[in-house]
């Protein structure tokens, strides 16, 4: 018999969580799997601001005012902080039902609808609720085996149900939901302001310096200016437009998902029951309301007998104790990924948002 080296290793809950998220820093950081575009976002912001501080700011601080780089630095730090908060936090993932709970709900459903013969696709499971005098339907999620709360939606990219699901944003590398929507909004707002600020002061810099040494000489001396102006120009059109769109959503207390699906518009639809009818109240609730903590308990320690002998993989959804549905290929059949609902930087904002990933999920 071989000698086993026993290493006392604590298994934390994040290592066994189902869904397609990646975790870093021992469960403190939670993101989606595809992070490439997020790195691009970081690179663009850091690169542009580095160039700005290195070249234009030095000239402008002397010629105009030292407050210019100070404000720029504040805007930069604020947008980086909100970006990292958006990207690294739990958007409001609803944990999947444990086997007991799932069985209990199945029993209740069968009692209401009657048993479905084996092999047949069960009908979509819907429960009706009345909220503020309007009927709202709760849908059953086949993957998570729960009745989704109102406004929650299943993200097929991350394979999680998320509360108050807004959209999945590849630019921040995470879903945007109840817990990180305000950070996302403040990020795009501060990024808009930062972009406008950098763009404006680049123009001022070029104008001032051109008066002294000429336009072409200016560009030759600091070629980074051209790059910054280009990046800011394209970013302006997309990010400022996106900020305007989300300001509209916040004022009406709607999510991008609801807006795309037209949940509250159209003559045969109910009115948005979550809106307070007052723009200020809606803004206050969405941006300054109480922030529920994450219910995932990523850093909780798993009891020893449940952690298993298999070394936990950091990035895979492992198979042990939390319930997993059999590979839900039908949920992934949607090719219309919602990636472009957040109008990307450097692309014209005119493309209409694609149908949400809810399309296939909802119609079941």
């Amino acid at each position: 018999m071989s000698v086993m080296v026993v290493r006392k290793k604590v298994t934390r809950k994040w290592e066994k969580l189902p869904g397609r998220n990646t975790f870093c820093c021992d469960g403190r950081v939670m993101m989606a799997r595809q992070k490439g575009i997020f790195y691009l976002t970081l690179f663009l912001i850091l690169g542009t601001c580095t160039l700005f501080f290195a070249f234009e700011c030095r000239y402008l601080a002397v010629q105009l005012s030292p407050a210019i780089p100070v404000f720029a630095a504040m805007l930069f730090l604020f947008s980086m902080a909100t970006l990292l908060r958006t990207s690294f936090s739990d958007p409001g993932v609803i944990p999947r039902a444990l086997p007991d709970e799932a069985a209990f709900i199945e029993m209740e459903i069968e009692a209401t609808n009657g048993a479905v013969p084996q092999g047949q696709r069960p009908p979509p499971r819907i429960k009706n609720f009345q909220i503020n005098n309007q009927i709202v339907k709760l849908k059953y999620c086949y993957t998570c085996k729960i009745f989704r709360p109102p406004r929650a939606s299943h993200c097929s990219i991350c394979d999680n149900c998320v509360e108050r699901f807004d959209h999945h944003c590849p630019w921040v590398g995470n879903c945007v939901g109840k817990r990180n929507y305000r950070y996302f909004y403040l990020f795009i707002l501060s990024l808009s302001l930062l972009t406008i600020y950098v763009f404006a002061f680049n123009i001022v810099y070029v104008a001032l310096k051109s008066l002294k040494i000429g336009f072409l000489e200016t560009l030759k001396e600091t070629p980074g200016t051209v790059l910054e102006v280009l990046i800011c120009f394209f970013t302006l059109w997309s990010v400022v437009g996106l900020t305007g769109f989300h300001t509209f959503l916040v004022a009406l207390n709607q999510t991008t998902n609801e807006d795309i699906k037209g949940s509250w518009t159209g003559k045969n639809r109910v009115q948005n029951p979550y809106s307070h009818g007052n723009i200020v109240k809606n803004c206050c609730e969405v941006l300054c309301g109480p922030l529920p903590p994450s219910v995932l308990d990523r850093r909780g320690i798993l009891p020893l007998e449940e952690s298993g002998s298999r070394p936990p993989s950091t990035q895979e959804a492992s198979t042990s104790l939390l319930p997993q549905s059999p590979a839900p290929t039908d949920h992934l059949s949607s090719d219309e990924m919602p990636e472009d609902t957040s109008t990307p930087e450097e692309m014209p904002p005119s493309e209409p948002p694609e149908p949400s990933q809810e399309a296939t999920e909802a119609e079941k």
Binding site: L77, F78, A81, T82, R85, I94, P95, A97, L98, D100, E101, F104, I105, F129, Q130, I131, N132, V136, L138, I146, F147, P149, P150, R151, E163, R164, R182, Y183, L186, P273, Y274, C284, E285, L287, C288, G289, P290, L291, P292, P293, V295, L296, D297
Partner: protein, 164 residues
């Protein structure tokens, strides 16, 4: 005398899990956290309806307090925003404080009300705030007494459990 009261540890040692009941969320007031006060039939012989409803109503009021939108929550939100949310690294949010209160309340209720009746309440936070899970225990060594022996109103002994 003392054996008639099951404390939590004794409950786990001497009893086996019979079944679980799940109290679902009540969405009639929107997305705020609220649980249905409908009395589940499985608990009919175990606990008085009034005690159960009181527990659920108290929990609902705690959650309402946590999610209350008003002056203090706005202040907290604005202060956090002004510090770029760094303040959350050293400060607990109001919601987290109330959740701790809820944990303590549930622990207390389990010890005083539910465990003597062979029941155990699980904090909804451990179930993703979806359900209140109530575990119903049967006395393992109850030979003569019925499974509902421990549920009388005055909390008197169930004969089987005492005989060890």
């Amino acid at each position: 005398m003392a054996t008639e009261v099951h404390n939590l540890q004794e409950l786990r040692r001497s009893a086996s899990l019979a079944t679980k009941v799940f109290i679902q969320r009540d969405y009639s007031d929107g997305t705020i956290c609220q649980f249905q006060t409908k009395f589940p039939p499985e608990l009919d012989s175990r606990i008085e309806r009034q005690l159960f409803e009181e527990t659920v109503k108290t929990l609902n009021s705690f959650y309402a307090e946590a999610e209350k939108i008003g002056g203090s929550s706005y202040l907290e939100g604005c202060l956090a925003c002004a510090t770029a949310y760094f303040i959350f690294l050293c400060m607990e949010t109001h919601y987290e404080k109330v959740l701790k209160k809820i944990s303590r309340y549930i622990q207390e209720q389990n010890e005083k009300v539910f465990a003597p009746r062979g029941l155990l309440l699980t904090d909804p936070v451990e179930r993703g705030m979806r359900v209140i899970e109530i575990s119903i225990y049967e006395d393992r060594c109850s030979s003569g007494s019925s499974s509902s022996g421990s549920s009388s109103g005055s909390g008197s002994s169930s004969g089987g459990a005492g005989g060890r």
